[in-house]
């Protein structure tokens, strides 16, 4: 596949502080300061951007068309060229990237938000499963991830000590992340669903994030060191866990190949792994060696605002490129039970 026909970069990233309970604010109130933050970094107003795209879930908000209220935070007047995906914001970024590739727009605003606190996230996510064969059994998200973790242990691909090390490394790294929900190491604690312990699981919380994309010279004008998107691809696997090898992630592998991730080594990776065991799967799929700095932000194990967590991975990787801390980074987002759907972005500073 030929490379992108137009150079497009992340020029700004902002996120909320991620908290366990944001019941004092509505979704629009949570999104508004993040949008101001990301736009202030570029000097743009929402109406100056050529395309706007967001990601969120009605099932988290508990109401139909929940994204229509969040649009109030954007200030869509005069009317905007705007779209929404019922997916993590990483896929909203993908839609915006495609819109810029067509040449119809030179800049795009992307945002995502999620409030898990009003409901019981483990129960809510069971509604994401095959409604005929799986959802009636109410297998919750941690139970399904535990099946995956057990498959890894049974195959000798990891051990409980390695999982604990992933948890400790992630939360230690998050001590430097002012937006993270869990900052600093936590005890592994008891099993939630064996073999996963409390420390192996992402926290449940609320938050939002936003990114500004720009093409070519526009990106250079808006940002001293744009994070150029060298490749971006996403792939989905079968839904039924029974037909998948849960110890592997072929969709991540394929997306990474299509995004050119293996053309040259990356120095940093932000992986969307809400469970320690899923980082093991992703590292294997992406051939990430010990020399790669994985999740310096703390990753999903430090803050997991569902529907925004994937977009935050791209934003965190881009921010490190902008600060000169990385030259070539990989960002990953996931959706669905046990890493069913995966997106990979490859970002680089100006070479």
């Amino acid at each position: 596949m030929p490379g992108p026909i137009r150079d497009i970069a992340v020029v700004a990233f902002a996120q909320s502080d991620h908290v366990a309970d944001s019941s004092a604010v509505s979704e629009a109130e949570m999104v508004l300061p993040v949008l101001h933050d990301v736009l202030d970094r570029t000097g743009l107003k929402a109406r100056d951007t050529g395309f706007v795209c967001s990601g969120s879930s009605d099932y988290l908000a508990g109401r139909a068309f929940s994204f229509t209220m969040a649009l109030d935070a954007v200030g869509a007047w005069p009317p905007l060229s705007e779209s929404h995906v019922e997916m993590d914001g990483a896929w909203a970024l993908y839609e915006a990237w495609v819109a810029l590739l067509t040449g119809e727009a030179d800049t795009a605003l992307v945002y995502a938000y999620g409030k898990s606190s009003p409901g019981d996230l483990r129960e809510v996510l069971t509604r994401q499963l095959d409604p005929y064969h799986l959802a009636p059994l109410w297998p919750d998200s941690i139970a399904l991830a535990a099946l995956q973790a057990q498959a890894l242990l049974d195959a000798g691909l990891t051990c409980e000590d390695e999982l604990a090390a992933v948890a400790a490394r992630s939360r230690t790294a998050a001590a430097d992340n002012p937006h993270a929900q869990l900052r600093g190491p936590r005890p592994q604690g008891d099993h939630v669903v064996a073999p996963l312990r409390r420390g192996d699981c992402a926290p449940v919380g609320d938050g939002a994030a936003a990114v500004v994309l720009a093409a070519g010279d526009r990106a250079r004008a808006l940002c001293d060191r744009p994070a150029w998107i060298r490749g971006l691809d996403h792939r989905v696997e079968a839904h039924s866990l029974g037909v998948r090898d849960l110890t592997a992630s072929p969709s991540t592998r394929l997306a990474a190949e299509r995004a050119g991730a293996f053309d040259r080594p990356v120095d940093l990776a932000e992986l969307h792994a809400p469970f320690t065991s899923q980082e093991i799967v992703l590292r294997r799929a992406l051939d990430l060696g010990d020399g790669v700095d994985v999740n310096p932000s703390g990753g999903a194990l430090a803050a997991n605002p569902v529907m925004a967590t994937g977009l935050i991975r791209i934003g965190e990787a881009a921010a490190r490129i902008q600060r000169g801390e990385s030259h070539r980074a990989l960002a990953h987002a996931t959706s669905g039970p046990c890493l069913q759907q995966n997106l990979v972005a490859v970002l680089e500073g100006e070479s």
Partner: protein
């Protein structure tokens, strides 16, 4: 750098009925997708990516159902995108798929939209009470009726226009074998005497609640050359959104709709839509929206849309046929309703609309809207490849 021209080479839809108890969600989407592939003489392996859309997940009670539908859509190992932009989603979904081809990210894309409304009660699914947020009242009709009344007052349209639209669209649906409502015995008098639901909207002037799906195969120039049937070419496409509620919002003729149409006409080189467009498939869930959108889309001057309807210009044999398929008033699987408009416009310029074909249709407009008359998506398709 120019965009790749986009062609519609495959169109498929399910039979639309109140309850498709004979198929699962997977069976429903597969039925439409298979028909679109057959129309294009392609198979699952020829598809590079899938873009799917539907309205709120609460309608079926499945969160992000595309995840479990990945197998049925032949999407395993491929990119799968899920769009949700309220009632305009069927149109927006097609436009997202078209951009994948236009940007040369993919060559051949399957796009599909569906709703299986029999799985729930759509009216109350839209009316969940959330503290401190503006309620939508009792379903969409309760929300839109005041805006129709505002149109009546502003335009001084006579009371009978709404019933003319409903009667026309339901008669058109008799020529469309896929339409949900086939009311053979309907008369204009029966429309006029049907129960008042949300004044001035009567029962027979209201869209049904349907189960159904629509699918299209979009491809590039090389793909179009292999198509066994004439393609429809994308000449222009756009989306526009504005807030739900704000001081100064014009619910009768929202600016987002006007801006969206202007963008599509500009891309398509249309300067006189009334003369240059041969057929229109517009999103008319309540009869009065035909004259309202005729004005919003630039087919009639402000306050004059009802005269166009009254004159018969929008009938099948008029000079600006509107909703020859029977439209949303005859078939309404909400998430798919917008894509059905886009697909029916494409069928017209391909000459494949069957009994409701408009002779010689060369350019047709597909239109969808959603939310509080705030999300708009439109495309203009033509029989000729754009220059």
């Amino acid at each position: 750098m120019s965009k790749e021209p986009v062609a519609v080479v495959g169109i498929g839809q399910t039979a639309h009925v109140a309850a498709r108890r004979d198929v699962s969600l997977a069976g429903l989407v597969r039925e439409a997708a298979r028909r679109a592939l057959d129309d294009a003489a392609l198979d699952w392996r020829d598809i590079d990516a899938v873009v799917i859309g539907k309205a709120p997940d609460f309608f079926e009670g499945v969160m992000m159902p595309e995840l479990f539908l990945a197998d049925a859509l032949g999407a395993v190992g491929k990119p799968l995108l899920r769009v949700h932009t309220a009632g305009s989603v069927g149109g927006s979904t097609a436009l997202v798929a078209a951009k994948l081809v236009a940007a040369r990210v993919h060559r051949t894309v399957l796009t599909l939209a569906f709703e299986k409304q029999s799985e729930s009660n759509a009216m109350w699914g839209l009316s969940l009470p959330i503290p401190f947020q503006q309620p939508l009242l009792a379903g969409a009709g309760g929300f839109f009726a005041p805006h129709v009344r505002a149109y009546l007052r502003r335009s001084k349209a006579p009371d009978h226009i709404g019933s003319l639209v409903a009667y026309k669209d339901r008669r058109n649906a008799l020529k469309n074998p896929y339409a949900h409502l086939h009311e053979v015995d309907l008369t204009l008098e029966k429309v006029r005497s049907s129960p008042m639901l949300w004044d001035p909207i009567r029962y027979s002037e209201t869209c049904p609640s349907s189960d159904g799906a629509c699918a299209m195969v979009l491809t590039d120039t090389a793909g179009a050359a292999r198509s066994p049937h004439p393609p429809a070419w994308l000449h222009g496409g756009a989306m526009r959104s504005e807030p739900t509620l704000f001081a100064g919002k014009d619910f009768v003729s929202p600016r987002a709709g006007r801006d969206c149409a202007a963008d599509v006409y500009r891309q398509s080189g249309i300067t006189d839509p009334r003369r240059e467009i041969d057929a229109v498939e517009m999103y008319v869930p309540f009869s009065w929206y035909e004259p309202m959108w005729l004005e919003n889309l630039g087919f009639a001057a402000e306050g004059e849309g009802w005269r166009l309807t009254e004159s018969g210009a929008t009938a099948l044999d008029g000079d600006l046929p509107v909703n020859p398929s029977g439209g949303v008033l005859s078939t309404n699987p909400i998430g798919a309703s917008g894509m059905l408009r886009f697909a029916e416009a494409a069928l017209q310029v391909r000459g494949r609309a069957g009994e409701h074909q408009i002779d010689g249709a060369r350019r047709a407009l597909g239109h969808a809207y959603g939310g509080g008359a705030q999300f708009f998506s439109m495309w203009l398709v033509g029989a000729d490849r754009p220059e």
